[in-house]
Symmetry: C2
Subunit: 351 residues, 2 copies
């Protein structure tokens, strides 16, 4: 028995077998207790639990994974080249939600970076090897092949920010449409007459929805949306500057700007200031994300807060459900899951 390894028998961690011996039952029974099977009598269960406690037994994950062909781990795949993604508190907040929700479970969170081609290669191998039970996908581009790969491999996956209205994976999103609406309605309620919008990258579905919200809010307020008040940005500060410059040139009389992100709002603010416009006196400004930038901007920026931490929680919830079902949503047919969480307008001095 002691021919292998060299870990002395007293120093090593207790095994199932040892717990079984201690409790005076068989190995199978201990396994059933550990895994919460109902097919165990109360008396036996109590005896086993006592033995587990006395010995300080902790299951060996590797052995379990090998025997059961599951991993008890899920991967959070991070498309790292998106520096923007990292710099924003988005990631941290989501991570906090994910961590909180996961702490109730036995699941491990594995962080996988899929930035470079080499990393993506490795990820593909990873997934093919089924080294995780499920995958969390954040900020995926519309043309990313990853979601399809996951579908093929039948690996449960949840995506934050669906790629389109027809997203095939289970998804969690915040209410971009409603968030944009509330921002614009707030500006109109404040008496603003000519509200411009700097959009995010329009290949991002959420950015499209914000445009929709902006349009509908204006339309419902009885205005014919003047298309020329919409200027595309790209979520960067520089993009915000460019868009603001263009808007100002076309519409010197605008009195409000709704930017699709705080970062773009920061860029817009610079241009407005250089153009001599006072905020909020001449032009009201509203951002999106409610990031640290919004709080520290001068003047502090009104912004739409997304419940990012809650989104993280929701993602885990949905993923665990799918894993429990042992089948990805895509193969379950119509029963796709989708969660949309409400946003909140945080009003500050800029509007």
């Amino acid at each position: 028995m002691a021919s292998h390894g060299g870990r002395g028998r007293s120093g090593g961690r207790p095994t199932l077998e040892e717990v079984a011996a201690r409790a005076g039952v068989g190995r199978g029974t201990v396994s059933r207790v550990i895994n919460g099977s109902p097919r165990v009598s109360d008396a036996t269960r109590a005896a086993v639990e006592a033995a587990v406690a006395e010995l300080g037994y902790v299951p060996n994950t590797a052995a379990r994974a090998l025997a059961a062909n599951r991993t008890d781990a899920i991967a959070l795949v991070v498309p790292e080249p998106e520096t923007r993604f990292f710099a924003e508190p988005y990631f941290s907040d989501m991570l906090r939600g994910v961590g909180a929700e996961l702490s109730d479970t036995e699941m491990q969170l594995l962080l996988i970076f899929a930035g470079s081609d080499r990393e993506r290669q490795r990820l593909a191998q990873y997934l093919a090897a089924h080294r995780v039970d499920g995958v969390l996908l954040v900020s995926v581009h519309a043309d990313d092949p990853l979601p399809d790969l996951l579908g093929q491999l039948e690996i449960p996956a949840v995506i934050s920010g669906p790629r389109s209205a027809a997203e095939s994976l289970t998804s969690v999103d915040s209410d971009n449409y409603g968030g944009a609406r509330s921002a614009v309605e707030h500006l109109l309620a404040g008496g603003r007459r000519r509200v411009a919008h700097i959009t995010g990258r329009l290949d991002v579905y959420g950015a499209q929805r914000r445009v929709d919200g902006y349009r509908d809010a204006l339309r419902d307020a009885g205005r014919t949306a003047d298309e020329l008040l919409v200027e595309p940005g790209d979520f960067t500060e520089e993009g915000g500057r460019r868009a603001m410059t263009a808007l100002l040139a076309r519409h010197p009389d605008l009195d409000a700007v709704f930017a699709g992100s705080d970062v773009m709002a920061a860029g817009a603010r610079q241009v407005l200031r250089e153009a001599g416009r006072r905020i909020p006196d001449d032009v009201a400004l509203v951002g999106y994300d409610d990031s640290a930038i919004a709080r520290h901007m001068d003047p502090p920026l009104t912004s739409v807060r997304q419940p990012i931490e809650e989104m993280g929680r929701a993602m885990i919830d949905l993923l665990l459900t799918e894993i429990a079902d042992r089948r990805p949503a895509v193969s379950r047919g119509l029963d796709r899951r989708r969660a949309v969480l409400p946003t909140e307008l945080v009003v500050r001095a800029s509007s």
Copy 2:
């Protein structure tokens, strides 16, 4: 042979055994090739590698972990209640460095949150179960029992931001002393005469070192450091406000402030502005961290940049070395490793 599981034999992933059959060698030999043992002839190695490629063989991590009693995983332990820590880009940047350095290896990064007591409990169990080969510790308090636990369990660990000059774990740090010096020297070079310092929490070693750097810079410039120009803060915005208020009351004639963090600098700025002091005309202001806040402050804040991403890389480097040595530094006696990376002063309009 097919009594277990149910994964049909053709659908399953190839095993060592199958590779061995294909290459016409024994199981042991394939294992040696996979693990890069030198005790294999070139011809055999080539044959095995061909078989591996043809079959698309990927080792089963669980089986390996079980047999070899190692995990090929390292944990990044995050003391989550430190919201400050999350909100700052510190975490993201470090993560990027860690990820980059790790992508060259087979190691997995595991994220473990150790915020609540329950999470800490779980973490302790985790470590006791040796479910990771090594641990990365970030922003640990001086009185945290975790480092000692790691030492006892003989788990290789690297800490970012040593807890004291006598840190027992391998550590990576930025040059807080030098960073503070450069900030103060910059202020003096700009003609400032009365330079105040708002410190971080002094139970944080790095904050102490910044105070040391501040003092020495003044002393070396021939001034007797006036202790009353030092006011303790706590890394928060509110703390910055309080400290600035106190400093202004005691020293209405101060003409420069070096804050131990950008967030505190933001607080200080508010107070200075309310007191009618212009920045940088009346009072120059320098922060620490070079965070997004610094860039977006009005005026943009001069700040000390820490090479956080590089610190992440260095931590992985050191940790992998320790794991390779298979013994934590603490038991190797005097041979402790410690890396200190240089900072950089980013000069902006506030000074």
